[in-house]
Symmetry: C2
Subunit: 252 residues, 2 copies
């Protein structure tokens, strides 16, 4: 089976031109079939602020109201996505920038407004892999923005980690797939020290102990879910994207 | 030879949700291979105003400075493009939204800054048709935003009429191609009356007489250039996109 790397790059790297350039250089050097999934980081928040759109929050979580959806469609689907595609091309990697609406790659379901109405947020229904495989077979790099659609004409906001994990899992039937969550930390940390291997037992222990918190929890849940379905998973620094082993590796 | 329709939709239709819906409904009903090229109309201008970006004009022509490029990359490549793709899908047409950077479809050259520096504006170098043909052969509708790239990592702003004419001409080697410029008028008008057929002689006569002015001049120049290369060309109302004959037809 051919191998495939599904690489998610975090928002704080995208926010920083120098870090993003560094990452894209290394990413372009990664051999073999690969897919990039990006967030939009604080660019969308800043753009929203400049447009006078007040963040609408419930329990610390942002609501995707109609105005916010407009901003993320612009920033994720346009600004970030197209600039990454243009840069990758200049680095010798032919890329295609896509949202989940394009080629109907990711149909999603608008989240139930009860108990909390998160607005235009989509939960992935399925991943249509035919065109992704077609691109990969032709040495084209799909660059996915974290946008899906409801098949009724609406774009939806979907978490980039979720898309990365869903895409990696779906393609693991055709490829020996590796999922890399790249961000600005060396991996999962405990008291300033990198944890190089993590299994479910250790994860639960550290979560219960309050060592693993916040955004790392859904990321690890998604990682372990992909691992169970046969995907190799690591959480690592954006500077280590081209390395064979690095960061925190999830194990059974 | 298979037939192909390359359809350009004007900015004033995109500005108006009702007109755009009407157009997309009819567009989705057009049988056979088709490509949609859209502008961004005043949405980009309004977004620029909301962001406090002052239009930078020379001789009545807008300069694409770095801030303006950011806005049009967001609006054309993200907001307008992805919403059209999602809507087309809901109307039964599988679509893929692309800029000229995606799949390196449209490499362009940044315009010479002398005599006038128009900023991040690109002149089309070539159209790579392989992926466009691949999509069309699989009943996928390419939806092109008027963005190109310089192959050195920069997105460029390119006129949508130019892209439409270049794409139609390039694909006319593989398809019997028709180019439709759709907008909010019935066609080329003289004194409130539609001109149903136009050849080069009549065009020059009306241009010299001041009947044909402004934006219609480059549109007709592009149309006649495509016609010379074997493309069937008409300029018509967005309401007539699905009609066999309508508006002003260019003839030799």
């Amino acid at each position: 089976m051919k191998s495939l790397k599904v690489i998610k790059i975090g928002g704080k790297v995208i926010d920083d031109d120098q870090k993003l350039d560094h990452f894209l250089n290394d990413f372009a050097s990664v051999k073999g079939p690969k897919i990039l999934i990006h967030g939009g980081g604080s660019i969308a928040t800043k753009m929203g602020e400049r447009l006078g759109i007040k963040p609408n929050m419930i329990d610390g979580r942002r609501i995707t109201d109609a105005e916010t959806l407009e901003v993320i469609t612009m920033v994720y689907g346009g600004l970030v996505n197209k600039n990454i595609v243009a840069k990758l091309h200049s680095l010798g990697a032919k890329a295609v920038g896509l949202s989940g609406a394009d080629l109907n790659i990711i149909p999603a379901k608008k989240r139930n407004p009860k108990p909390v109405d998160f607005g235009w947020v989509g939960d992935v229904e399925t991943i249509h892999t035919e065109w992704l495989s077609q691109f990969l077979d032709n040495e084209v790099v799909p660059v996915l923005a974290p946008l899906t659609h409801d098949q009724n004409g609406h774009i939806l906001n979907t978490n980039a980690d979720t898309i990365a994990s869903s895409v990696a899992t779906a393609l693991s039937k055709d490829f020996e797939t590796e999922l890399l969550f790249c961000f600005e930390q060396p991996g999962v940390m405990n008291d300033g020290k990198l944890i190089t291997k993590m299994n479910l037992l250790l994860y639960r222990y550290l979560k219960d102990g309050g060592i693993i918190t916040d955004g790392m929890i859904p990321k690890l849940d998604l990682g372990f879910s992909a691992l169970r379905k046969g995907v190799k998973v690591s959480i690592r620094s954006f500077e280590d994207v081209a390395k064979t082993e690095s960061g925190t590796r999830l194990v059974k």
